[in-house]
Structures are given as structure tokens and as C-alpha cells.
């Protein structure tokens, strides 16, 4: 087991480098420059800029510099935000995204899991139909619609919650709900499906036949197997939640990492893009590793060599 974890942890480094390399190549292929704007620059000024940022050097020199920096975990300075280092920017914006992301995920897990389990146990009941319809509603209402409607009701009519900006606990309610609703819907549906599958399987029947209490059957046996699809989905979901979600951040004007990252792509801010990509890919791989390990705990039949 420990051997397996160590091996996986070690593969993260080359993989992150592959991701960074591919991304770097994509940035090079993408048209436009970080300095281009509605006003075309005189060639002399463009030349000055290219010289200042080393863009006039051959590609392999530039690539070498990028990799050299990243290996030292120093992502350099942002091109767009003059004088701000990428490390500071990530450090500054991560807490906002993480707070909202983790809260939203907790909300989603609590609501989604319980709704999914109950719906599976009472299959074809009113609760089952009701909660599944509700979750479908949550899925078919995109967050760019849900957010503004929540704002309209709670901020502009009732004036009880702030419409935007991260100003304290009360300002967290709307973004967390907007973000969490979709994930809750996902989880509820996947839990229900997974549970239904498991409840019919032989080992649950065996467990029931052994005369175990319904509670033990459910919590000790069924739930473990039933939430495997949810767990598979958790790795990427958590990583993307930590990275922030662009829509929610823009609608509520929250200084998270998601909007920052998307803007950096639109701005062609190479160091920032590479920094965030490296950071996120490592996060994603760590989360996926945790997910893979938890498979073994959830279902003892899954083994890793």
C-alpha cells in the first residue's frame, strides 16, 4: 500500500512537467500577445517589450528558463499584473476559492448523499420522484441563471443578503448555495443509482439473509459500495471547486482563482497560466490518488498491487 502511494506521488512530478510543457506549447501556438490591445503598438515599442521579457530569444532558451524556474517552484512574475509574482497571486486568491469551494462541496455532500440514499431506499416513492425532479431542476438551471435569480430575490427585493463582493459570512450564503446546488444534484443522482445497484447485489442479500439489522446492512455494506461512483467523481470535482468556478466568481465579484485563471488565458499571461496549471494539476493528481486509495477502503474487493 505505502509502496503504491509513494510510487504514485513520485509520478506526479513528471506528469506536472508534461502538463506544463503541453500548456506552454499551446500558449506559443495561440495567436495574440499579452501586450496586444485595441491600439496597435508601433514596431519599436513592440521590440522593446519583446526584449524586456526575453521573447526575442530562441524558443528552447525560453522553454529552458520556464522549466528551470518551475522546478524551483518559482513561477516568476505575472506579465499582466506588473511586479506581482505568480506565487503571491495564487496564495492570495486560493483562500477565497477554497473557502467557497469546500463549503459548497460539504453542502453538496450532505444534501446530495442523504437525498440519494433515501430516494434509493424508497424507490418510486413520492420522495424519490420529488427529490430527483428537484435535483434535475438544479442541474438544468445553470449557475449563471441561478446566481442572478438568488441575488434578485435576496439582495434586491428582500435586501437581506449582499448582492456581491466577499464581505463576511452573510456574503458567502448565495455563492455557496449557487455552486453547491449543482454538485448536490449530481451527488444525489449518482448516489441513488449506485445504491440501487448495490442493494440488489448478492452480498447485500447475503447480509440480509444473515439477519443483520437493516441499519448495519445499509451503513456498513450498501453505502460503501453505493457511493463509489460519487467518489470517482469527487476527485476532479474537488480540484475544480478549489480552482474556483468562473461563473460564480464573476456573478458575485469574488476574488477567486477561477476567474483569475480564465482571465490569464484571455490575457496570454504565460507565467500566471503556467503557475496555475502546475498548481492545479498537482492538486488534481493528489485528489485522484486519495480517491483511488479510498476505493480500497470502501470496497475491500478492490486491490492495488
Amino acid at each position: 500500500m505505502w509502496h503504491f502511494i509513494l510510487k504514485r506521488l513520485l509520478t506526479i512530478i513528471p506528469m506536472a512537467l508534461i502538463v506544463v510543457t503541453v500548456t506552454w506549447g499551446l500558449i506559443r501556438l495561440a495567436p495574440g500577445n499579452f501586450y496586444s490591445g485595441e491600439k496597435k503598438l508601433p514596431p519599436a515599442i513592440e521590440k522593446n517589450i519583446r526584449a524586456k521579457y526575453g521573447l526575442d530569444q530562441p524558443w528552447y532558451v525560453q522553454y529552458g528558463k520556464v522549466i528551470g524556474r518551475i522546478v524551483r517552484l518559482d513561477f516568476g512574475d505575472s506579465l499582466k499584473y506588473e511586479g506581482q509574482s505568480v506565487n503571491t497571486i495564487i496564495k492570495r486568491h486560493l483562500p477565497y476559492s477554497a473557502t467557497i469551494g469546500i463549503l459548497a462541496y460539504l453542502f453538496a455532500v450532505v444534501v446530495g448523499l442523504s437525498a440519494g440514499i433515501i430516494a434509493a431506499l424508497k424507490q418510486n416513492s413520492g420522495f424519490d420522484y420529488g427529490s430527483m425532479a428537484l435535483s434535475m431542476l438544479g442541474l438544468s438551471v445553470p449557475s449563471f441563471v441561478m446566481g442572478p435569480i438568488l441575488v434578485l430575490v435576496f439582495s434586491l427585493w428582500l435586501f437581506i443578503l449582499p448582492p456581491a463582493r466577499f464581505t463576511g459570512l452573510s456574503s458567502l450564503v448565495l455563492p455557496v448555495f449557487t455552486l453547491g446546488a449543482i454538485y448536490a444534484a449530481y451527488i444525489a443522482r449518482m448516489t441513488r443509482a449506485g445504491m440501487l445497484e448495490i442493494l440488489r447485489s448478492d452480498y447485500i442479500r447475503t447480509a440480509r439473509a444473515k439477519g443483520l439489522s437493516e441499519k448495519t446492512v445499509l451503513l456498513k455494506h450498501a453505502l460503501r459500495g453505493g457511493i463509489i461512483p460519487v467518489v470517482s467523481f469527487t476527485g476532479p470535482a474537488l480540484a475544480s471547486l478549489l480552482a474556483g468556478t468562473v461563473v460564480v466568481e464573476r456573478v458575485f465579484a469574488i476574488p477567486g482563482l477561477g476567474n483569475m485563471f480564465v482571465q490569464s488565458v484571455f490575457n496570454r499571461d504565460e507565467p500566471l497560466i503556467l503557475g496555475v496549471v502546475a498548481f492545479l494539476s498537482i492538486m488534481l493528481m493528489v485528489f485522484n490518488l486519495i480517491v483511488d486509495i479510498s476505493y480500497g477502503f470502501l470496497d475491500p474487493r478492490i486491490r492495488y498491487e
Binding site: A30, P31, G32, N33, Y35, S36, G37, E38, K39, K40, L41, P42, A44, I45, K47, N48, I49, A51, K52, Y53, K80, Y81, E82, G83, Q84, I89, R92, V110, V111, S114, A115, I118, F127, G130, S131, L134, L137, P148, I149, L150, L152, V153, S155, L156, W157, F159, P162, P163, A164, R165, R250, V251, F252, A253, P255, N259, M260, F266, N267, R268
Partner: protein
């Protein structure tokens, strides 16, 4: 337990649905103001300025969001007039120019101070201007300093050419025995690196042969035409007359910067704890993507007239979010173009809050005039004539229709243009009505298409159907934005209705679009917009100046350049504008672009915010802004805020500032009168 949660969610959902339905029914029209009015307790203004500022280096940034903050932090020789954006005295109490328009002398006020108490002297400006031009800084706005002698040469890393111990002049005919004098304007300077030499050899064989065997002396900062005569007198020498020069100096690029702190802190100089500013405000805090607070600087020379203690800037990207936060009473004013066009009918009812005035901008479509089918002037004219601009104005609501390139916000230029256009049109056999019909004339458009050789079937109301227009490879490309899309869809429908031609639309992400347009790779037409850098028509006309111009159309005419050069040498504003209008007429008759409209300011402010005017560039000198707690003195009917409803207190404040220059000019005229009088007496 989960059932409880679900009940809550259910209640929530029901609430929204009820909400959504009742919006349709509810009408907030009875209230005088849009949303909550929450007058701040202190003299603090909360303002939304657009995207997150890139930097606080006035010579590095290019965007308007930053500019609005920076003109509060850094003072310049001249300040924007809060209404017209024409220059008014600031750190320079007065200025004068030589009759040839080549040398400007600025008289600095003696009480100018940085936020740390250091006096602001002429040498600070010299250092700051040279810094902006230095190739190492690589400022994107360095071209603003190109009017100063050798500014461009220094910024481009060029070298003077020395042969036999003498500098070569730019004009071979002007060679004198002593060689070129560097203190005079025109000495030859060339790029000496490999690439530059190669280009010279290919494109300019004469110069290439002239410089053979010469030695090169790099142009340095010392050669740039800016110098301190004494502590409080600054002299700027230009390479050619530029009557707009003083107006240009309002731009944040020409701020007074504090050299010692910038040298000391290097990269960290703009941190709140390090930064030394020269303006009415200093930086208090900066939380990127969240807020920035600037606080009044008590060292500022005009501190007694600065009324706001603090200004909080909130960076935001989403229009609806800004509107929400404004409606909830959590900000006091918004920046330009923040009200979605579709909301206009609703919002314009709030006459005390909604500001719509013309801007110093132009929105247009460019033609790729070197490629078929828009290489034909008739086709270009037909496409311009067949857009019903009155309908565009009615639909977009926030733009004013135009068929000309220079927006009609320069009253003096407007007069000159009317006169010149009428005169020239007459020569071309057009009436004034024809000139006006350029805004929309489908019948004429059909005629032009016929003249271009297409088969045209006439329909009713002057409309027609062109059957053989080649659609292959013709598109209208625009960069992704809600407003661009709406305008493109409208214009597309116009061509369809009036010419029977359906031009495909293509949107592109901004940075992909830019090189595509500027390299004129686009097929047929592309969207463009231009925001003036200073308050002079030249900022628009220069778009088409020089063979390597920035118009992205491929259009150029040496006669056009000659007309503009001639105009700029003219110190009389009226005849200068007339010459410029001639140039504009010449260009517009070739129709390399389809002018569509001039954007309006389109923003809102709470009625208690006073001294904030909808000027053409949405640049607010913050020292005129204040918060009025007495509701009887609040702004109302802000459509007239620039005229009848103007605030006398602010007007008086501006007048007091303008007085130093007016007095100076008066004393100068009296002096010359006296001198000439004395001469006459002789």
C-alpha cells in the same frame, strides 16, 4: 433531517419561481430613484472602475480603469477639466509656446509637493518623461512622448550617424558644413542592429548608402527634447508642431513621479507602504480583485479644495453585478458603459441618476480594401449607405449615429467640418442633402452596386436585391462582446433587407482577433472602435496617417498626410481644423471604413455625488467630487448637468484654477501690445 433540508430547498425554489413571475408584474417606477439611497456617513466615495488594475505605474498601464485611479494618485502639469477634459493648470500654473509651435515652456507652481513632502521640481518631470520613453521600461504608451524631439529615436534605440566627425542631417539636402547640430530638430538617426540595417538596405537604399562607413552614436535620454531651465521652469522641444501637445499632458503617462522611492524600492515601489504619489490622493490599501482605497494626501498643493477623504475602487467585470450592487446602495457611482442597452428604457426614467452624453470614441467597421469585393469604392459606399443608422441609434439607445470618422464632440472642429464638407461636396456635385443622406440611402446604395457592375433587381422603397455578390470568403468579424454582437446582427439584417445580401458573422476571442485584424487577414469587414487619447480630432485622424498606419484597412494617401502635416503647422485653430476637415473629407469619400456611431457615457451615479461629470472620456479629476448630505442640493435632471444644472461650487473651483493661465496669457498679450506699441512709437 434531510427532509427538513429539502423542505427548505423547496421553499427556496418556490420563492424564486414566485419571484420570477412577480418581476413581470412588479413595477418599481413610482420610486424617484433606482434602488436604495444610502448616503455615506463620511466623505468616502465607493466607485466601480472596471477590471482589476494591471499596475499603478502610470507609464506602464494602458487601460481606462487604471487611468481613472492614477489621475487621483499622480498629478501632472495640467489637469483634465471635469466637464470638457480640456487642460487646466495643475502643477504648471501657466505655460507659453513659441510662434513656430515648437517649444513649450511651463511655469511650475512652487508649492507642489509629493506625498512624502518632497517638493516637485522641473527636474522631476524631466526624469519622469525620460523614464517613460526609455526602451528598458518598454512602456506600451511611449508613443505619447514621440512628439518630443528625439523621443521616438530614444525609445526605438536608434543611433545618430557620424561621418568624418560630423552628424548627418535627416534631409540630405540640408547638409551644412558643420554637420547637423543635435540641438536643432532634424538629425538622422537609424536602428543599428542587424534587423534594422537589413530593413534599411531593402526599403531605403539612399539612406543605406549615406550611412556606409559611418560611426554610430546612440541616442540617449539627454537628447530628448525635455529640460529644466531652472527649478520651476520646464522646457519641452517638439520635433514638429503639435497643437494638441498641452492637452496630451493631461494623460497619466506624463505624471510627476518620485525618483528616490522608485530607485530605492525597485519592483516594490507601488506597494502601499512604499509608494510616493504626487496627486491629491495616496494609496492606502490594495487588495487585488477586491478593492483599492486611496486617501487624501495632506501634502497636496491644492489639499484645501480636495473634499473626499477616501475613494474606494471596486474592480468588477460583470455588468449585471455592478448594476445590482449599485441598486442595493453599496456603491455610489459606476464607470462608463455599465448600463446594459436593453435596460435603457427602464433606467432612463431615473433622470436624476442616469448620464448619457457623447464620448470621445468612434465605433466602425473596417474594409479590407485591397481584396475583392471591397476593393471597389462603389461596393464600399453601398455597404455604408445601406445601414439605417437612425434605426441603429433607436435600437442601441446609447450611441449617436454618424457617417463621419471624427466624433462630433469638438464644437470648433464641428463648425469647420460643416463648412469644408459643404464646400468640397459642392465641387464634387453633391448637395448638403446628399451629405446628410450618407447616414442612410438605400436607393443610392443600389445605384452604387449597379455601378460596381453587379446585377441588381430593384424592389420597393429604394431597396434592391443583388444576386451575384460573391459571398465566398466575405465575413463580418468582431471580437466577442455582447454589444458588438448586437450591432453586428443589426447591420447584417440591414444589408439583407436593403441589398439582399446576407454577410456571415464571425466572432473571435479578443486576442485572437487583434492580430487577425491588424494584419488585414480578415475577410471583408472587421469591427473596430477607437477611444481618443486626448481631446483633439488628430487622435482620430492619425489612425490613417503614414503608409504603415493603424487603420487595418490598407488605405493610405500621401496627400492625406500632407494635409495633416500642414494643419498641425497651423497655429490658428480655425484654419487648422479646416485643413483637418479637408483631410477627413478626402478619406471619407474613399470610404475605407463604415462609421456607425459615437458611444454615449451611459453610467449612473447616486444624486448625492456631486462634481462627477459625464465628460467625453469618463476621466474624473477627483478633487472636484464631493458628497452632498442635504437632499435639497442633490443633483437632479442630470441630462443638463453640463449646462443649466451645473454645480456653481465646482464651476468656481475650476475657474479659480484656470485663472493662473488666463492671467498669464493676459499679461503676455499686454506685454506684446506694449512692446509693439513702443515699436510703433519709434
Amino acid at each position: 433531517m434531510s427532509q427538513k433540508i429539502f423542505c427548505r430547498i423547496l421553499t427556496g425554489i418556490v420563492l424564486f419561481s414566485v419571484g420570477v413571475v412577480s418581476i413581470g408584474c412588479s413595477n418599481a417606477g413610482n420610486s424617484k430613484y433606482w434602488g436604495k439611497i444610502d448616503v455615506p456617513k463620511e466623505d468616502n466615495l465607493r466607485y466601480i472602475t472596471g477590471s482589476e488594475p494591471e499596475s499603478l505605474d502610470p507609464q506602464f498601464v494602458t487601460g481606462q480603469p487604471e487611468a481613472r485611479i492614477l489621475i487621483g494618485l499622480f498629478d501632472r502639469l495640467v489637469e483634465y477639466h471635469p466637464k470638457t477634459m480640456q487642460p487646466i493648470p495643475s502643477l504648471a500654473s501657466s505655460w507659453e509656446t513659441t510662434p513656430d509651435g515648437l517649444v513649450y515652456t511651463f511655469h511650475l507652481r512652487k508649492d507642489g509637493k509629493f506625498s512624502n513632502g518632497d517638493p516637485i521640481k522641473a527636474k522631476d518631470f524631466v526624469w519622469s518623461f525620460k523614464r517613460g520613453l526609455s526602451p528598458e521600461l518598454a512602456s506600451r504608451y511611449a508613443f505619447l512622448g514621440y512628439d518630443m524631439k528625439y523621443g521616438e529615436e530614444y525609445n526605438s534605440g536608434k543611433s545618430f550617424v557620424k561621418k568624418n566627425g560630423k552628424f548627418l542631417p535627416e534631409d540630405p539636402a540640408g547638409a551644412s558644413l558643420d554637420g547637423c547640430d543635435l540641438s536643432g530638430p532634424k538629425c538622422l538617426a537609424v536602428v543599428t542592429d542587424e534587423e534594422g540595417m537589413k530593413e534599411l538596405k531593402e526599403n531605403d537604399k539612399d539612406t543605406a548608402s549615406r550611412i556606409e562607413g559611418a560611426e554610430f552614436v546612440p541616442v540617449t535620454a539627454d537628447n530628448v527634447g525635455i529640460s529644466a531651465v531652472d527649478d520651476y521652469t520646464l522646457k519641452a522641444t517638439l520635433k514638429q508642431p503639435a497643437p494638441y501637445f498641452v492637452g496630451l499632458l493631461c494623460h497619466q503617462f506624463f505624471s510627476a513621479l518620485h525618483q528616490p522611492s522608485m530607485d530605492k524600492f525597485k519592483k516594490e515601489w507601488m506597494k502601499p507602504e512604499n509608494i510616493v504619489t504626487s496627486g491629491a490622493y495616496q494609496l492606502e490599501s490594495w487588495d487585488p480583485y477586491d478593492q483599492m482605497t486611496i486617501a487624501k494626501s495632506d501634502k497636496y498643493w491644492d489639499a484645501k479644495n480636495v473634499k473626499l477623504n477616501k475613494i474606494q475602487f471596486y474592480p468588477m467585470d460583470e455588468q449585471t453585478t455592478m448594476m445590482n450592487i449599485y441598486k442595493a446602495g453599496r456603491v455610489d457611482a459606476l464607470y462608463n458603459h455599465t448600463v446594459p442597452a436593453a435596460w435603457n428604457d427602464e433606467i432612463k426614467k431615473f433622470k436624476d441618476e442616469y448620464l448619457l452624453h457623447p464620448e470621445v470614441t468612434i465605433e466602425y467597421y473596417t474594409f479590407s480594401i485591397k481584396k475583392k469585393p471591397f476593393d471597389s469604392i462603389h461596393v464600399r459606399r453601398a455597404f455604408s449607405l445601406s445601414v439605417n443608422r437612425a434605426n441603429l441609434e433607436a435600437f442601441r439607445k446609447t450611441i449617436k449615429q454618424t457617417a463621419d470618422f471624427v466624433p462630433s464632440i469638438f464644437p470648433e472642429y464641428e463648425k469647420a467640418r460643416k463648412k469644408v464638407f459643404a464646400e468640397l461636396a459642392k465641387k464634387d456635385g453633391m448637395t448638403e442633402k446628399d451629405l446628410e443622406a450618407r447616414l442612410f440611402d438605400p436607393a443610392q446604395a443600389c445605384k452604387e452596386m449597379k455601378e460596381a457592375g453587379y446585377s441588381v433587381t430593384d424592389g420597393k422603397d429604394g431597396k434592391c436585391k443583388v444576386s451575384d455578390f460573391p459571398l465566398d470568403g466575405v465575413e463580418l468579424t468582431y471580437n466577442t462582446a455582447e454589444s458588438n454582437k448586437a450591432v453586428a446582427e443589426f447591420v447584417q439584417s440591414q444589408w439583407k433587407q436593403n441589398l439582399g445580401i446576407t454577410i456571415p458573422l464571425k466572432n473571435m476571442e479578443f486576442k485572437t482577433f487583434l492580430p487577425y485584424r491588424s494584419a488585414i487577414e480578415y475577410k471583408g469587414m472587421a469591427r473596430a472602435g477607437w477611444v481618443g487619447d486626448y481631446m483633439d480630432p488628430f487622435t482620430f485622424l492619425s489612425q490613417f496617417y503614414s503608409p504603415k498606419n493603424d487603420s487595418s484597412t490598407g488605405w493610405w494617401n500621401p496627400k492625406y498626410d500632407a494635409l495633416l502635416d500642414d494643419a498641425n503647422k497651423d497655429l490658428d485653430p480655425t484654419s487648422r481644423f479646416e485643413k483637418m476637415a479637408r483631410a477627413e473629407y478626402m478619406m471619407m469619400m474613399d470610404q475605407p471604413v463604415i462609421p456607425l456611431g459615437v458611444a454615449g457615457t451611459n453610467w449612473m451615479k447616486k444624486p448625492y455625488v456631486k462634481g462627477l461629470y459625464p465628460n467625453p472620456g469618463t476621466m474624473h479629476p477627483w478633487k472636484f467630487v464631493y458628497i452632498e448630505r442635504d437632499p435639497s442640493k442633490w443633483d437632479h435632471d442630470v441630462d443638463k448637468i453640463m449646462t443649466e444644472q451645473s454645480d456653481p461650487a465646482v464651476d468656481a473651483q475650476v475657474a479659480a484654477l484656470e485663472k493662473t493661465q488666463l492671467d498669464f496669457e493676459k499679461s503676455r498679450t499686454e506685454l506684446t501690445k506694449k512692446e509693439s506699441g513702443e515699436k510703433d512709437a519709434d
